[in-house]
């Protein structure tokens, strides 16, 4: 979802607190041929390949949403500092509330993880974008690297306002009958319930070494999943695959589940719970 104005309107009516757009680049990009998405035992495997209509066309979609009463976070991807900086500026001009740097796509050559595993580059991109735009800048990082803390620190050094963790986990599915990887791109990113423990661990570790807000993502399907991320140190969570598992209304449902849990456990404010697992 969130590839066009209409679908963002629908997500808004389902109680989402904010909407993160599809990752947008400078030029239109078709993404990979199908199969691009399949469901496995405990999660969703995708290699969409960053399809998007390009920032100029997408700006027109976003401009239709000016009246939307919730913040839109514009996700962008690029191949280098110049692209990220230009995209961030263009994204800011559409009126979005914040920009998210996708430096962690696990299946797009030269556009994701290759950038996101280089601390120097992450710092420079973040710094350059921060200097160019006035809106908050979030950096979305990958779990498919060994130096996740170093990358989070680099984002902070580049003056990132928040870190988003995690992107999907690099994965593959091979069909036994045809002896063929099912995804057209062969390798994809795994999301959904299966990756939640990985996301929780990453958020927990980042929270220990970086003191900027964190947004937890990866397998949030229920209110309890969201609370677990909050206990690990997240101030907010993102939801994707759960739209498949529980329908578009999942945002309403999860909000209710969080409220219910808090009431049962006598909490009045979520902020009491942020990072509580570190005590």
């Amino acid at each position: 979802m969130d590839e066009d104005a209409g679908s963002m309107k629908r997500i808004f009516t389902c109680s989402a607190g904010a909407i993160v757009t599809k990752s947008i680049g400078l030029q239109p990009r078709e993404g990979y041929p199908n199969p691009t998405v399949i469901e496995l035992e405990h999660g969703i495997l995708n290699a969409m390949g960053l399809p998007n209509p390009g920032i100029d066309h997408y700006s027109k979609e976003l401009l239709k949403l000016k009246k939307l009463p919730i913040p839109i976070i514009g996700s962008i991807y690029g191949a280098n500092i110049e692209e990220f900086t230009l995209l961030a500026k263009k994204m800011e001009q559409t009126g979005v509330a914040a920009v998210e740097l996708n430096i962690s796509c696990p299946h797009a050559k030269h556009l994701g993880q290759e950038i996101g595993c280089d601390p120097g580059l992450v710092q420079d991109i973040t710094f350059s974008v921060k200097n160019r735009v006035k809106i908050p800048v979030f950096v979305k990082i990958s779990p498919n690297i060994t130096n996740i803390i170093e990358i989070a620190q680099a984002a902070k050094k580049g003056h990132a306002d928040a870190i988003v963790a995690i992107n999907t986990v690099k994965a593959m599915k091979i069909d036994l009958e045809t002896q063929h990887p099912i995804l057209a791109n062969k390798i994809g990113g795994y999301s959904g319930k299966a990756i939640k423990p990985i996301g929780i661990r990453c958020v927990y570790e980042i929270a220990q070494s970086v003191d900027i807000p964190l947004i937890g993502v990866g397998g949030v399907t229920t209110g309890e999943d969201a609370l677990e991320y909050i206990l690990a140190g997240a101030s907010a969570v993102q939801i994707g695959s759960a739209v498949y598992y529980r329908g578009v209304d999942v945002f309403t449902t999860i909000c209710k589940e969080i409220e219910c849990w808090m009431k049962q456990h006598h909490y009045n404010s979520l902020s009491e719970l942020i990072g509580a697992a570190h005590a």
Binding site: D4, R10, K22, N34, L40, P51, H57, A184
Partner: protein, 259 residues
């Protein structure tokens, strides 16, 4: 799980120079109007409506128009394809006197709906609209089950000369129908909707699809209606509020392009 099951083509019928029907053993229920994702390994995976339903035997009928359907067209009995699904909502025919309007390969997915209506003893009329006579298929299949079949061709080589929607318009003036069901070129369906504002109307829409499970947003129309999950069948009331209907589709990048 939404993962392709490798299935063998048990029968292949060439309907005309460019249209084939493949039959395969694929247990599980499916309603007319629903679709499968058909995987041609190494080529592509594309949505295809069910065109034949008989217990475990299901069928798809397709025209060779692109890379995927051309590759599919080369396959024969005994070859394998990957199938996942069924997906989407399906038709919900109601009434005693029903009109089905199919344009081109749209006829294929209406056929099982007509068969289902006949089983329930509805009085059923089917308009088959083609560009020209030699493209005609499924006429005998539908006549055999007792549907009244009318043919229109753009060039007048068979039946009514003109579009299927025009033939339907004339028919709707003469006969009282309880409901209209259609699949075909979107502009044809849009004009048909104009003649059906007072009776229940359902149309099957086609959009570029990727995930088919409501996640990726590629096939969204209007205010976030996912053709793969919320459709592909939409009623007239909904369609009248969707400005994309008959106007825009979106390419693989998500960019809006005129239909």
């Amino acid at each position: 799980m939404n993962i392709p099951t490798i299935s063998r083509i048990t029968k292949s019928i060439k309907e005309n120079d460019e249209v084939k029907t493949f039959y395969f053993n694929f247990p599980g229920s499916v309603s007319p109007g629903q679709f499968y994702m058909i995987w041609i390994p190494g080529v592509d995976e594309i949505p295809m409506s069910v065109s034949y339903i008989q217990d475990d035997i299901k069928g798809i009928t397709f025209r060779k128009i692109g890379d995927a359907t051309n590759a599919l067209f080369q396959l024969k009995k005994g070859d394998t394809i990957g199938i996942r699904g069924p997906y989407g909502n399906g038709f919900t025919p109601k009434g005693k006197h029903l009109l089905f309007v199919g344009g081109g390969t749209g006829v294929a997915m209406l056929a099982p709906a007509v068969e289902q209506a006949r089983k329930k003893h509805s009085n059923t009329t089917m308009i088959i609209g083609m560009k020209t006579k030699k493209e005609l298929f499924f006429k005998q299949r539908l006549k055999k089950i007792g549907a009244k079949v009318l043919v229109s061709t753009d060039d007048g080589s068979l039946g009514f000369k003109g579009f299927a929607s025009e033939l339907a318009r004339d028919l709707l003036k003469k006969e009282p129908f309880d409901a209209v069901y259609t699949c075909g070129p979107e502009l044809m369906m849009k004009s048909l909707l104009n003649y059906c504002k007072k009776i229940p109307f359902q149309a099957s829409l086609e959009r570029y699809m990727k995930c088919s499970i409501g996640l990726c947003g590629q096939c969204c129309i209007g205010d976030g209606l996912r053709v793969c999950v919320d459709g592909p069948i939409f009623n007239g009331k909904t369609l009248q509020t969707i400005e994309d209907f008959g106007t825009f589709q979106r390419d693989a990048s998500g960019k809006k392009i005129p239909l």
